[in-house]
Symmetry: C7
């Protein structure tokens, strides 16, 4: 059950310092620790890894990711592992 | 018959706490419980599931979904099951 | 003959409560009863049906449709049946 | 020779009530009588017909057409028939 | 040598009444006499011709062309004939 | 070593009157002398040449190029000839 | 562990004068020394190299790169070499 989410960005605020999964429009995913975000949904990840088809493609560490390339963002803890 | 919908976002407001179906531009769907939305149609879903061709592809739990990736949103109760 | 249309959105205003055809950028159509719209051409349809190649694909009931996915909107009464 | 066109929208203003050809980004054309337009180049056509490869595909009557789907608009009287 | 061009739109201003070549994003070109333009680079051409692969495809006369479909605009006098 | 570049547009300002290479989103390049630019990165080139795969395709002289078609701009003197 | 990043652009600010990796929407990468950026994420790189499939394609020196072509930006020191 999710509490305290009044506005969409509240979910990002409560995810700061935690691992998130970011689905990109180019069919890839990024996982990493959310350090910062702004109203454009630009985000900074630490320990970011680029993934495709469930496999790590590149470890890219600190990353600034443009908001307009993102489809969705989920706390990694809530994503069901298959 | 639908009552009380004066502006498009009124439908989203009356769907808070209920399950919705979200059709994405990338041909996939998301279903989940609507927790929050803003004027950009960014939304937060709880218990979100990503679907393609009528099958659940991933359970992704809490999800922030960018409005510019969305085609339409419907209350799940109004979608006819085939 | 069309009267009383000074601005483009006047056509949507006079179509409230009536069935409309919506042509989407993704090559599909939606038909349904127009309940609400805003200046972004976001619309809410009741009894919406998604169509492709002249066939109903899904009955999706109440639907919020993003304006930026739309090519054109016509009152269903004015569309010639083939 | 064209007179009295100081700004691009002047051509649309002088085409009100006349038949126009609208070239869409999706490779189709619309022909119809221009009833209204706004600064986003959203337009309303009466007696609109959707065309592809020089043939009428659908008669869709009254139509609201989003400006961001348009490449160009010409008065039908100025388009050379082949 | 080009003189008196301080801002990009100065080139369009000095091309009024002259023939220009417009390269479109859809791989086609338009040639015609520039009658008007605005800050969105929407333009009106007289005696416009749509071209593809160096051949005239359609004579479309007076034309309103949306700025967001344009890649570049050149005075026809400066384009080298091959 | 590059000095005096505080903001991105400073590089364009210091390139006025010099030859630049412009990489377009459509996979082509333009080379020419930068005459003017604005905050949308619309630019005017003199003696512009359109290139593809390292070959000159068209000499188009004076050209107004829309900023939203551009990927990057480099002073030609800094591009390594292969 | 990353400190002092309150807002996404803070990562770009702390990367000035350092080598960064820029992933572009067109599947290519740029590496170079970050000299400047603005709120649109337009950036200027020195000693820029365009890369594809892990190989240098072109050395392009000083480069102005439009923000809307970028997916992500990482300090080169944080990208794991394979």
């Amino acid at each position: 059950m999710a509490n305290g989410i009044e506005r969409p960005l509240d979910l990002l605020n409560s995810s700061k310092g935690k691992e998130i999964l970011v689905q990109l429009k180019n069919e890839k995913q990024m996982v990493g620790t959310l350090l910062a975000f702004d109203i454009h949904v630009n985000i900074v990840l630490d320990n970011a890894k680029e993934m495709a088809n469930g496999e790590v493609k590149r470890s890219i560490g600190l990353t600034f990711l443009r908001g307009d390339t993102i489809i969705f963002i989920s706390p990694a803890s809530s994503v069901e592992k298959k």
